[in-house]
């Protein structure tokens, strides 16, 4: 039977629905996730099936949402918390960074914090400085947290199911512009493992290493480059932490060139980690310096043209690759 085509948002909803059906310890908690269905409609219909006891609408209280998830997880529950916008993660950072991430280690490995914190990230909707953040680099920096950022509906579903089953706190990054994108998702159960990158497109001339929406832009760029005879390989990182070093290194060893593409500000961002990995472990294979395409070092502007210039676009990727190959 051919795969169904569904949206990224539907894929996420299916993952939560299946895990809630399978495991009574899974519950959802967040702002407006009940009858409203979530700010981006991801949890629509779940309150009808599971009721307000397992799809818990809360006041605007981010500290308490993540804190409640941590507490419930310590006594055997598997909460999935929704933080309405990634920028709001800064509010609950104490619970996430000082508590969720450190508890297991500080308690000598005796406690488990199996929580998932889902959150819409990224710019492109004109929501300006307080609703357009890409802070995944920050959280990838915290030992004890896992950070995943799927690009396709297939990966969104498979990674969310894996995240819910994982015994660690997982920060689940959903790009707002991906929610309505569509892709094949099988009816039958599957998981996408955390910590595994995937080659989304094979190529021999350059590796485009990206995650989330930048994977999709890299795939578009690769199509354009192919028309000019340049075969780009697209590596979708999928999990920022743990990072699949092997897949990245193998790709670079094959193509001898790499561009790392990511949305957060270029400076001190996740791309630097990938560049460092490549120069440490595949330096001899490189025919050119590794390039980094990151966001402008500025808060997200409201004006649509400036907002577009904030983050790497398809044409930026194409230009960078052509320049490297000149």
């Amino acid at each position: 039977m051919p795969n169904r085509i569904i949206t990224y948002a539907e894929a996420l909803r299916e993952a939560m629905r299946e895990e809630m059906r399978n495991d009574a310890s899974v519950f959802l908690i967040g702002e407006d996730i009940g009858i409203y269905g979530g700010a981006f409609g991801v949890t629509q219909g779940l309150i009808e099936e599971f009721g307000p006891e397992r799809v818990i609408d809360t006041p605007i209280s981010e500290v308490a949402i993540v804190g409640a998830a941590v507490g419930a997880s310590l006594i055997g529950m598997r909460p999935v918390a929704e933080i309405m916008f990634f920028d709001f993660m800064t509010i609950c950072s104490d619970q996430l960074v000082n508590q969720a991430a450190k508890i297991r280690f500080m308690f000598g490995g005796k406690a488990r914090v199996p929580i998932v914190v889902r959150s819409p990230a990224g710019s492109g909707t004109g929501a300006a400085g307080h609703h357009s953040g890409s802070l995944e680099s920050w959280f990838a920096h915290v030992p004890g947290l896992k950070v995943v950022a799927p690009a396709t509906p297939y990966d969104a579903k498979g990674l969310l199911k894996s995240s819910i089953r994982d015994d660690n706190p997982v920060v689940f990054v959903e790009h707002k512009l991906l929610y309505r994108t569509k892709g094949p998702v099988p009816e039958e159960e599957y998981l996408v493992p955390i910590g595994k990158a995937e080659i989304k497109r094979e190529g021999k001339d350059v590796s485009l290493i990206a995650y989330s929406i930048m994977t999709m832009r890299s795939l578009e760029a690769a199509e354009i480059l192919a028309k000019e005879g340049i075969e780009a390989e697209v590596v979708d990182i999928r999990s920022l932490r743990p990072l699949d070093e092997e897949t990245i290194l193998q790709s670079v060893k094959k193509t001898n060139r790499a561009v790392v593409i990511y949305e957060p500000p270029r400076f001190g961002g996740f791309g630097a980690e990938v560049v460092s990995l490549i120069t440490e472990k595949a330096f001899d294979y490189l025919d050119a310096p590794v390039e980094r395409l990151g966001g402008e070092e500025m808060p997200p502007p409201y004006n649509p043209h400036l907002e577009r210039e904030l983050v790497p676009q398809v044409e930026d990727i194409v230009e960078t690759v052509k320049r490297m190959l000149e």
Binding site: T58, G129, E297, Y302
Partner: protein, 318 residues
């Protein structure tokens, strides 16, 4: 309050209503983008409260901040330009609807993070106390913000330091879709004041004169160094939370019921019946407001946009 002053309040309420309705039309026409949060139905709170301030006093605002901005004396031309992302806007088109500040008029800015301006208002009040400038800070926030950690920490700090700040909680009955009936285990948010040892007062947020009188008393208290007051203005937003709201969480009947208590209609009734104002006079004021908004749109449309080079120079102070 004399009639002249009352007519000014009436004008400001109309200006806010027109601004919001025009912004909505511009959004539908694709000239305003992103999202914004309409203040329609809540005009009496901003206008009544700001009328109790001196021009040099400060306010902090929220994501639903157009009304506060106008009531504190902002130029609607610059506001409209901001909504259209233009260089002539209050924030050069970088902030948009949710982040308008007008420092010259004492508006310390709107914020998109619910509750986050409450500690900032307290900080401004602390500054006023240290500068001994006799100014007062009016802090607008919604019912949703009253449940954030920021609220509790900031109100307590203002109370123990006896800072010149007035906490104006605009209870419009919903934090996005979450009803205040579910969000609070108390009847009135003003009850919270007891826990911090400050006065808590409930105001009819659809009655501009009542909001004015209650705020005036709180402002005087603050100015005398007697510390903060928590005012809860009960009101209602006629429109959805934002432009993407389908309003599935409340009934049409409920919205209609509140629209019968439209603050502008209530005030009109007062002006016609108690003050015996000539209806023609009110009509003229309406036309003046409409004209001002039309001019604002024309100004915004004719304006330029900022370049990325100019934007880059604004990230750090030189």
């Amino acid at each position: 309050m004399d009639l002249q002053q009352k007519l000014k309040l009436y004008y400001q309420m109309l200006l806010i209503r027109d601004f919001e309705e025009t912004a909505e039309e511009l959004y539908m026409a694709g000239k305003v983008w992103g999202t914004f949060h309409l203040y329609v139905g809540e005009e009496a709170v901003a206008v009544g409260a700001c009328a109790a301030l001196q021009p040099e006093d400060y306010i902090t605002s929220t994501h639903r901040g157009h009304g506060h901005c106008i009531a504190k004396g902002a130029d609607v031309k610059k506001m409209m330009a901001e909504l259209m992302g233009k260089k002539t806007g209050y924030c050069l088109g970088l902030g948009g609807s949710m982040h308008i500040a007008d420092l010259e008029k004492g508006n310390l800015g709107a914020t998109g993070i619910v509750g986050s301006a409450i500690p900032i208002a307290v900080g401004a009040a602390l500054g006023c106390k240290l500068q001994k400038n006799g100014r007062v800070v009016l802090c607008f926030f919604g019912d949703g913000a009253a449940n954030t950690g920021a609220f509790h920490e900031a109100v307590n700090m203002a109370a123990i330091f006896k800072l010149p700040v007035v906490f104006m909680c605009e209870n419009n009955m919903y934090a996005m879709s979450f009803s205040v009936k579910k969000a609070f285990a108390i009847a009135d948010i003003a009850e919270r004041a007891q826990g911090y040892g400050i006065p808590g007062v409930v105001a009819n947020g659809n009655d501009v004169l009542e909001v004015y009188e209650i705020t005036k008393e709180a402002v005087e208290r603050a100015r005398k160094g007697e510390g903060p007051t928590l005012i809860e203005a009960k009101t209602y937003r006629f429109k959805g939370h934002s432009k993407s709201d389908k309003n599935v969480y409340r009934s049409k009947e409920e919205i209609k019921e509140w629209m019968r208590r439209d603050p502008i209609l209530l005030f009109e009734k007062h002006l016609l019946e108690e003050e015996k104002v000539d209806p023609q006079k009110l009509q003229e004021i309406k036309q003046k407001a409409e004209k001002e908004i039309e001019e604002a749109v024309a100004f915004a449309e004719a304006s330029e946009e900022l370049s990325i080079e100019e934007a880059r120079r604004l990230v750090y102070a030189e």
